[in-house]
């Protein structure tokens, strides 16, 4: 009986490995295809010769997009929105999460409800759009930074984490005469690196990735973020360089330019991701769903 069950366990284990390998390959493959295609010649891509690695290796497509001034402008804009937006978001979120984590805060339940309500009830696209217009934030960089400053879910992650910080630390600091700001800065923040890193990552990623609202709110070309630029190239295929007899020389093509732009936009994420992975895993586990 025991022998039998350990045999079936072994089979289960092998099966488990195989399935996970297949899943990993399926997850990774689309990106590999895009990467390989971005370094292939336009004609190789056009005849469907690319599967895993570059065919007729070339960096021409990258040269084209990297010499496009709009690409750099939009990249810069995204960095600007991401940097200042994330700072703004973290400033509000850390302060609020600390206060909301304190049992001695009066009306704590009500305040928490007011935050959670924004997750459950969305006023919708049109009222939000009209609100931005009324506040004068249409086509305004500050509007993009301020208007998308708070994600209730992120505050809840931080709050849950802060709730778990041992009270004794805080109490002894109190006795030494520290106030709440000091306690937050000197005790809570250093102890909560994992969840702060997680939430920072979430805010930064949502700034980096967002296109819908900037597409709707921003009218000037010189304020456009990268994703809107990408959208124009990928979905509308309408960048200036994409026409005019490119196919004749076939070193690069509209398609390889699309591939190269996708990869170029992924570079920061791919670079940051490995460093931050252990943090967000920990951060989510500790702060995510808590009963």
């Amino acid at each position: 009986m025991k022998k039998h069950s350990s045999n079936s366990d072994k089979i289960l284990n092998i099966f488990n490995h195989i399935i996970l390998i297949i899943i990993s390959i399926c997850t990774l493959y689309p990106t590999i295809f895009v990467l390989a295609s971005s370094f292939s010649s336009g004609s190789a891509v056009a005849r469907g010769a690319v599967y895993l690695w570059p065919v007729e290796f070339t960096v021409e497509a990258y040269k084209v997009i990297l010499s496009d001034i709009e690409f750099w402008m939009s990249y810069g804009n995204t960095l600007f929105y991401m940097l200042f937006g994330t700072l703004f978001s973290m400033f509000i979120s850390i302060l609020a999460a600390y206060a909301l984590s304190k049992k001695r805060l009066r009306f704590r339940k009500l305040f928490n409800f007011m935050v959670a309500f924004t997750i459950w009830f969305d006023p919708g696209i049109i009222p939000k759009y009209m609100n931005f217009k009324e506040l004068g934030f249409e086509n305004n960089r500050i509007g993009i930074i301020v208007g998308f400053g708070v994600l209730a879910f992120n505050i809840i992650i931080l709050r849950n984490y802060f709730e778990g910080v041992p009270k004794s630390l805080e109490e002894s600091a109190y006795i030494d005469g520290a106030n709440d700001f000091k306690i937050l800065y000197k005790i809570y923040m250093p102890l909560s690196k994992a969840s702060i890193a997680t939430v920072t990552l979430f805010y930064a990623i949502s700034r980096w990735n967002g296109y819908f609202w900037t597409m709707i709110l921003i009218k000037d070309l010189d304020k456009m973020p990268l994703q809107v630029y990408l959208r124009r190239i990928i979905v509308e295929r309408d960048a200036l360089m994409l026409d005019s007899g490119i196919l004749a020389n076939a070193v690069y093509s509209p398609d390889t330019i699309i591939f190269a732009t996708i990869i170029a936009s992924l570079v920061p994420i791919i670079i940051i991701y490995p460093f931050i992975q252990k943090y967000f895993e920990k951060g989510i586990m500790l702060g995510g769903v808590k009963e």
Binding site: L105, F121, R231, I262
Partner: protein, 314 residues
Amino acid sequence: MVSKRKHSINVGESFKKDWQLYVMLIPLFIWLVYFAYKPLYGLIIAFKDYSVFKGIADSKWVGLENFKYLLTGPGSVYFWRAFKNTIVISLYNIIFGFPIPIILAIMFNEMKNKFFRKSVQTIVYLPYFFSDVVIAGIIISILSPNIGVINNILVNLGIINDGIYFLVEPKYFRSIFVLSDIWKESGFNSIIYFAALSGISPILYEAARMDGASKFQQIKNITIPGIMPTIIIMFILRVGKLLNIGYERILLLYTPQTYEKADIISTYIYRLGLKENGMMDVATATGLFNSIIAFILVYVTNRITRKLSDTGLW
């Protein structure tokens, strides 16, 4: 956990003693007032004949006219189409997308080789961090009839003769969308279950092994019951978002040819209110309708699961 200290002071004293906490909340509340609660005022145009020139306050009240127009007016067939698509896509998403992260987490948990497990996790979390535009770009590329790798493989294997226009034919849209959702979210969503799994006491497994339980029996009798509360909470959250599909990706992927299967309530609102004819009042009514139903859904599921299992969100 930490011992709680009793604070028996009244509100005034609390403000005086803990004023710093209230100061810390000021930035959040200014933000909430301007960007979360003020837009709620805009919802009243759902009950008005909104005119841009008159503004919200001076536009004429029309009661439920906008809702009536939406549900039974000349354009209502498009609304009902979007409504149906929303429900169908969302159900697909739940049926196929919801169990996968749970299964993934259990598989990770069974994986004793730590390095291998971490590598797989690193890979499957990754697409979560890709933007919708990038994902749309990848989908458009790999499905392209000329250069797409899927069509190339199918043609080379002799399964089809010519490339299929996957994104032009309505019948493929939902599968493509749901698959892309699974690809993007499954790995990342498994984190929460994986965390719950590591909270199960090893003693339980040890006891089961002593009794001669196979791995499969252990999963069935210890692992799954152990994460049931998490599963239920995630399920409620998911159902609450039933009407709240990732419209940003649909906007990127759909075309007038695929509206028939792809147009959902949010994308319909977008076209109605901001793009084609600027019927902001009807679009707002649509959004309100959507939000109210979503809210009711969360409430009802929460009630039901509370009755059935004693676990709930509140």
